[in-house]
Amino acid sequence: MKASKLWSLQGKSILVIDDFPCMRSMMRGMLSAYGADDIPDTSHGEEAIKRMHDKSFDIVLCDYNLGEGKDGQQVLEEAKEDSLLPYSSIFIMTTAENSMEMVMGAAEYQPDDYLSKPFTKQVLQTRLKRLLARKSSLRKIASAMQRKDFSHALSLCEKQLTLQPGNRFELLKLKGELSIKAQRFDAAAAAFAEVIAERELPWAKLGYGEALYHRERYEEAKTTFKELIKANPNYVFAHDWLARVYEKLDEPEKAQEILTEATEKSPKAVLRQRALAEISQQNADLDTAEEAYRRVMRLGKNSCYKSPTDYASLSRVYLQKSNNVEAMKTLASMKKEFHQGKSGDRLHATILEIMLYKDMAREDEARKGIAEAMKLFRDNPGGLNTPLAMELASACYDLGLKEEGYEIVRHIVRNNHEDQDILDGVQTMMESCGIGDSAADLIAATRDEVITLNNRGVEMATNGALQDSIKLFAQAADGMPENLVINLNAAQSLIMFMQRYGAVPEFLEQTQGYLVRAQSLNKPSQKQDKLQTAYRKLVTSLAKA
């Protein structure tokens, strides 16, 4: 009883989202009765996301049904996608539905808890108390996850499991998920299998199948997902994974069939509709593809999943159906939707536009598009990722724009100078454009340039000119955001500097930026693990100082 008197929400920032004003003031009343003093509220999903961008919240209470605009699930998805909700924060979905079928299983992200209306002050308190205690026991793991240092998070998780905790299943789930992120698929399978041995819970079986998939054991994965669907026909994630397995097994018709079934069960999930659209386009089932892309656009309108690719793909479906009028209309709405967006999106949309004009043999417009794309690229080279750059370069060469093609190919090689698959891809692309002769030289020369630059930076660092090395790598990494070696060396020079002169917050933040970027390239290496460890030590040393 004593503990409950001491328990307070004082100092916690809490965002309340509900479209019903009385409900908001009631919830704020309940929360302030427990000492909360920082409780902004809003009725709109869009506004909620804006607030979360401005500042991060310890607790978010969000109603599922928000009237016009985003619903609660979309708020959750967008917040997670934009990294506005670290693992340490709590997201509670309040809902007037008694059970969770409305959202359960249909979505990529799950809230920490559901609270069904009506609920009393005491119920809210009990739930928050438990969640806060649970989160606080996972505090260290959460902060490692925030740094995307998955191998450390994993070892913390394993350590906690040896203490025979009450939340063993939760930790095993986390262990499985972290193992997948750290690409340790055997460990992931083992964690999920441990749960299954005791109880065949759907998420455990799903995770187990996912681990099998990553280990390229597709037949076993197929059996696992099929069993899961048989026992839980409405567990749509299993459908998604089974479809992926069928694609790997080169059975795209079956993949389409299973995705059709899944989208009927959960018609609101954008990513699932998109998967259906893509697979049916691949299967030349243009009517299904058209319908699915239309649904993607309608559903994605308020969501973080909105992408110019969907417009371009739909436009291409229309071209395949020889419906040029609709193709142009779709293209026009893509331009309208994205012309004021982020420069990356604009570049993306422009490149897609060029490709469509090429398909329609409208060369003048395609050329105009290339000029626009080059301008956007030169303003912000970091915004052009490798797959799109390949498309752009090939379009340039097709239209005889050698200079521009050359510039883009250099960008690709600079970002991937150690990735043989991509370099081979560049070679093949240039050969098919009839300029294969110059390809090898261009690739080799650009690669040497990067190697020379990198060696110069490493030499500076070894000679103790750490500040010069930091500057060189920072500049290099700006222009080559996808280059693993450059990003890791940028982190390393900063780490070496701090190891010598002591840790400083700005440098730690920069280091983390490079390490997170390296992590997102999904090419784990020993060097990366070592740097993560060194970085962690510096963080601790700063905390102690």
Binding site: F20, C22, M23, M26, G29, M30, N65, A96, E97, N98, S99, M100, E101, M104, G105, Y114, S116, K117, P118, F119, T120, K121, Q122, V123, T126, R130, G166, F169, E170, R199, E200, L201, P202, N234
Partner: protein, 230 residues
Amino acid sequence: MSNDAQNLDFATVIASAVHDMKNSLTLLLDTLDDAAGEQSIAATLLQEKLLQAQHEGKRLNRNLIQLLALYRLERSQLFINITENSVTELLEDVAMESRQLLDARSIKLEIDCESGLIGFFDRELITGIVNTIINNSYRYTKNTIRLSGENQGDYLCIHIEDNGPGYPDKMLHGGSNTDSPIDFQTGSTGLGLYFAAQVAQMHSNGKRHGYTETSNAGINKGGRFSLFLP
């Protein structure tokens, strides 16, 4: 206009109506909660009336939940979400919900459950069932209600018992008697028990399914409701 009406999905209509009603209920119950907790109200009589109103509000809410769930069940749209849960926490949560009301009538509520007991079930649905049964016991018990949880063989077992006169003969049954004819003359109780049996049946583990049992093996031969979950 008439065309639109024909195209309306009844499930959507119910869902949105329930959504609205539950918002109102939330506010109503919160107001009553505040009022009933107000120390300055001297008149015990008023306090008791508030608690009674609160009790009816909660009953209304449970009925709404059951109605919607049963409608979904019939159309095979009711899905359950089985998770790992602490049984003690569940029992403490439901006890807390009704504590005030029971206190006012000097009914003792006992919990008998090992603290580490874990169960696999849909938390929302099972909470709803236990609440309904407590509400039922509240009307018939003399002065005690006991909640208990234990493992019995391969099943988790939750009992709700009281020291009232016990269930009438026609309501006594054991096993998974989900399709026994319901006598709606008995009021909400029949619906509640039917709903409980349906939800228990939906909980499965391998080939085993959950079931409910009513007996008069409660305190001093009072009513005892048991929920068995695989």
